[in-house]
Homo-oligomer: 279 residues x 2
DNA sequence: CGCGCTGTTGAAACTTGTCAAAGTTTGTGG
DNA sequence: CCACAAACTTTGACAAGTTTCAACAGCGCG
């Protein structure tokens, strides 16, 4: 319940239309921004502004000067809000835009013809979503909000134009795509050669670091996804996920209360990673 | 033994220095090009020429006009030959160039501190290698030749420049990166939710298609990798790979003789994919 | 306030990994 | 060109980890 709000993060937000002052405190804003739509303003049309966004060092415009930043501001179309459970896009939808996560939490999953589903990523603020769609100009996965979320829409055609003009933007965009490839390879390592306990430990450590680098607590956080979604991501059943969480708790590594996680002993948790199984 | 040579592929090669006429027939050229170095010519310095390369529709310059193709020819530095077992690059090496596979066969693998190893990809002609290095300007995996191979070296800094000039090249480069992401997500699906038989079947079908789209037989081919490497890629042990191959053979789906594979019944093999296990 | 979704836990079954041994192929050096 | 060693592959028996099935508990939402 505590520690869910940023510790040291500059929280200034929207520029053109400064609604944010009227928003509730940050944790609530993240937890239930849809409440604000009761004010009857069409928030889906609020323009984004990278230059004043607290995430710009994590996000697409990382490393740009203020001049270049202004050109991005014009590129990034609108801030789009979606509610928990809504699709940001579906497999097969034609690529119009990439999205940067402003706030909230999402998952992406690929689906087999036979209905089988694999969660390929969980997305949090500052991350860019939709890169898989570039190859066929069609989205190759579903992306769904796990909690009410805000996204900056980045029309892809214009992004490509702009990257042709601004070398540093091009640079960073390439880095973002490459980073996704590296991440995927590490997930392949996890899926291909780790046992259940290692997978969960790796998962928790990764989440913890991502929260930390965004100014949230590394020790204590709220899982936005179900056991089943964790299991899908890690190649395990939901029962196994649940059991391993319980085991970790029994051994004093973490405390679990439903989706509230406290990491008690990071060092021993880290120690678990590296007890290979096969291969 | 048969069917290892391209069926319908234009086999014209190098332009500036036309050595290829003197090379042995294609299958041998692929199997042991190092023999040609006995002629005492430094073949590592032979310039590549996309414009006359039979792979250009698969490779980096796909979709360029002849004008643009010429500019790529100047970009693509040299053709580099490496022998079976040699590293193309190692984890941590700084990014200088990407590579396009001209001929041969390679694997990439990520390595844990604890020595665990995961094969993340097998590369064949027309594919671009090294994309993972862009994110940190350091290679994030090892890439090793599984047979003597030829690669076109593409200095990355100059590629970035050129993509700023040539929109269609930029377009295609983005597509290549995105395609890698989609591929990785499909491997995650495989590793996360398929049982051993499905994984092997998927693997064989994928290889078969890749050979076919390069003009080789889809029914009959030679595996360039060991059972252990297949196992690493598929998240299985080498024993399981071997057993499943045997089972497939017993059931009349394929014929296996060491690394020589004949696909006897593609349809039933396809039918195996979709018998989920868990999740 | 109850219904449904989510999470927990147990017992049994099954898939795959582990260990071991033997057979086969490939490459090397004489 | 042959012989030998090393690397790779196959197969069996057994063990272990994870899934499956099932029942129940808790929480949240309408």
């Amino acid at each position: 319940m505590v520690a869910l709000m940023p510790r040291s993060m500059d929280n200034s937000r929207g520029a053109r239309v400064d609604l944010d002052q009227t928003l509730p405190a940050c944790d609530k804003a993240v937890a239930m921004p849809s409440r604000t739509s009761s004010r009857n303003i069409d928030l889906t049309q609020v323009r984004a502004a990278c230059s004043t966004c607290s995430l710009h060092e994590l996000c697409l415009p990382a490393g740009l000067d203020s001049n270049e930043m202004e050109r991005i501001d014009q590129l990034v179309k609108v801030r789009r809000r979606i509610k928990r459970g809504d699709y940001l896009y579906r497999t097969g939808a034609s690529l119009e835009s990439l999205f940067a996560v402003r706030s909230g939490f999402l998952k992406s999953c690929v689906i087999c013809e036979d209905g089988r589903e694999q969660v390929t990523a969980f997305h949090m603020m500052g991350e860019v979503v939709g890169l898989d769609a570039i190859s066929q100009e069609k989205h190759a996965c579903d992306t769904i909000a796990l909690e009410d979320s805000e996204l900056c829409e980045i029309p892809f055609a214009r992004l490509e134009e702009l990257t042709r003009d601004i070398a540093s933007l091009q640079r960073h965009f390439h880095r973002i795509m490459s980073r996704e490839i590296v991440r995927d390879h590490n997930v392949m390592l996890l899926l291909g050669s780790m046992r259940a306990e290692e997978r969960l430990a790796t998962f928790l450590i990764g989440l913890s670091q991502r929260f930390a680098s965004r100014g949230y607590s590394a020790q204590e956080f709220h899982l936005r996804m179900t056991r089943e979604e964790i299991g899908s991501y890690l190649g395990l059943t939901l029962e196994t996920v649940s059991r391993v969480f319980s085991r970790f708790q029994d051994e004093g590594l973490i405390e679990v209360n439903n989706r509230h996680i406290v990491i008690v002993d990071v060092e021993r948790l880290r120690g678990l990673v590296g007890q290979h199984s096969h291969s």
